[in-house]
């Protein structure tokens, strides 16, 4: 056997528990996320999907009672290590939120602001244009870059949020139900965009829409509350999307994806 190369994962979690005070909202998750693929996290509401997602870019830090045990490794570095600055982590791992939240600035500035504070050197106009193109928004806004971002429609605002996320060249993009506040057509556009984006970025998406997960993702992690009634969520199954939806290993996964409950 010549090829003993271990594929490098984009990011992996090692036995993580996420606590709110004494209560573990998420238990014992071991995930190895593949590079430049779309990984979906699905499951019924309240099982900790968003909490898990937010652990990747340390957004849970803003909840005072929240802490994490275990490790999350990015390029071999534990993101929760003692000397790690969360600000640096978030620079490398971008996030798109459920409800579009553009800044109260112009379309141009929404993108240039993030670049500026992260020390971007070079041609800002080029960066803004490239980011908007990559987010499939350039054509619609190129004549009104100075206008307020709030003048855009919901779908456009979300694509703007994606544009500003990719402008700072993250390694990974987290998406927390990015299309749930949008109409079906905008949702479709976002899904198409994701297929383009994965050529350059690793994407982890949380969605409560199973069909979307089936359409869009390469890998799927199924989360559910523990059977023992502890109300703690964990990943009960994780594999290629095709497998999860056609031949799931766990009975509960099968029940969920076939709509028997959830």
């Amino acid at each position: 056997m010549q090829n003993t190369q271990i594929p490098e994962y984009a990011i992996e979690t090692k036995n993580i528990f996420i606590f709110y005070g004494a209560f573990p909202a998420v238990s014992e998750v071991n995930l190895k996320i593949e590079k430049q693929k779309i990984t979906a996290i699905i499951g019924p509401s309240g099982c900790g999907k968003s909490t898990l997602l937010r652990a990747f870019n340390r957004m849970n830090d803003f909840v005072p009672s929240s802490y994490l045990t275990g490790k999350i490794l990015l390029h071999g570095q534990n993101l929760y290590g003692k000397n790690i600055d969360p600000v640096e982590v978030r620079r490398k791992i971008g996030m798109v939120f459920q409800k579009p939240n553009p800044f109260p600035k112009s379309i141009y500035e929404n993108i240039s602001w993030g670049a500026k504070i992260n020390g971007f050197k070079g041609n800002m106009d080029e960066l803004v244009e490239q980011s908007l193109r990559d987010a499939a928004l350039w054509g619609e806004v190129k004549d009104k870059l100075k206008k307020s971002a709030y003048e855009l429609s919901g779908g456009q605002q979300q694509r703007l949020c994606i544009a500003r996320a990719i402008a700072i060249q993250p390694d990974i993009i987290l998406m927390d139900e990015p299309a749930s506040a949008l109409d079906p057509i905008s949702t479709l556009r976002i899904e198409e965009l994701m297929q383009e984006l994965k050529k350059n970025y690793t994407i982890i998406i949380v969605t409560h829409n199973m069909q979307q997960a089936a359409r869009v993702s390469d890998y799927t992690a199924m989360m559910m509350l523990e059977k023992d009634g502890s109300r703690s969520g964990t990943v009960i199954e994780y594999s290629e999307t095709k497998r999860i939806f056609t031949n799931p290993k766990d009975r509960r996964t099968e029940d969920y994806v076939t709509g028997r409950f959830g």
Partner: protein, 302 residues
């Protein structure tokens, strides 16, 4: 079998009470009408006096109605200068306090510090007047020299007015800052921004109209304030732009003149009402603008 009578009964008691309550509610309109009527009536008499012309009123710089001098400018400039100084002190300080309390202070610190601000807001203005005359003026004299700073001066009054207005601006600004949705902050944090960058470059601009409303209310308070300027700013109209000199403001003038002997039909009496009418209109316009700004701000985020 008893008839079920569901028809509307006239309940006289209810109607009487409802009318009484409506009158109580309507009384407030009556008060505003009374203010406009009474002030307007006397102001009309004042401007109706053949000696009083708009040219003199807005154009000349001596105010002494008893000898035919009707230039309002010295009172107006004094009001503007003291108010400007007050805002110059209270706006940056108030905003900074609001930023600190809403973005940096722990809940424990906040609950310890907010009572301090409430106390500052609750101190009667006459006490601030004492403070301005007997602490701030000597202090300014020590810093700038007794030759520059007169015993009565606009700067002392303005600075102390600023301290008085500070809690107002800080609490309204804090409300505006807290009203900015979490999602906006999270969007900034997710881009690798520090807490400071988020507060100043994202949250503050989003809260700007609420802070603007606070500023306008602050100006309105400063313009209408009487006791601090009556005690510390000066007891005679003086057209000057030097803040270290004594110059009576519109409100201080009304207080001084009406504290003395005043016959109801004198030009002094009617002139006071003309000044009061100006004050009322200016503060009314400012308050209305501020209310509209706040309503639009609330609409944006709710």
């Amino acid at each position: 079998m008893n008839q079920l009578d569901l028809s509307k009964k006239t309940r006289i008691g209810e109607s009487v009470i409802q009318t009484l309550l409506f009158i109580a509610g309507f009384l407030s309109i009556f008060i505003t009408v009374a203010i406009v009527y009474e002030l307007g009536k006397e102001a009309w008499l004042f401007f109706g006096n053949p000696d009083v012309t708009f040219a003199k009123f807005f154009g000349t710089t001596t105010w002494q109605p008893s000898i035919g001098q009707f230039g309002i400018l010295p009172l107006v400039t004094s009001t503007l200068i003291t108010s400007f100084i007050a805002i110059f002190v209270s706006l940056p300080l108030g905003l900074a306090v609001a930023l600190f309390l809403s973005e940096y202070a722990s809940p424990k610190a906040r609950s310890a510090l907010k009572p301090v601000l409430e106390i500052l807001a609750g101190i009667p203005t006459v006490v601030y007047g004492y403070f301005a005359l007997l602490f701030m003026t000597p202090l300014l004299q020590k810093i700038f020299g007794e030759q520059t700073v007169e015993v009565y001066n606009m700067a002392s009054a303005g600075i102390v007015m600023g301290i008085m207005i500070l809690p107002l601006i800080s609490s309204m600004s804090e409300d505006a800052l807290s009203a900015v949705p979490r999602a906006l902050r999270e969007g900034a944090y997710a881009m690798g921004a520090t807490k400071f960058e988020t507060s100043i470059q994202v949250v503050l601009p989003a809260a700007l109209s609420g802070i603007g409303a606070a500023l306008i209310i602050g100006i309105s308070r400063a313009v209408g304030e009487t006791m601090i300027v009556a005690i510390a700013a000066g007891s005679g109209p003086n057209f000057t732009f030097n803040p270290f000199k004594a110059a009576e403001t519109m409100t201080g003038h009304i207080a001084r003149i009406s504290g003395g002997d005043l016959s109801y039909n004198s030009i002094d009496y009617t002139s006071l009402f003309a000044i009061a009418l100006m004050l009322f209109l200016v503060t009314l316009v400012l308050n209305l603008i501020s209310q509209t700004v706040i309503n639009r701000f609330r609409q944006r985020y709710e």
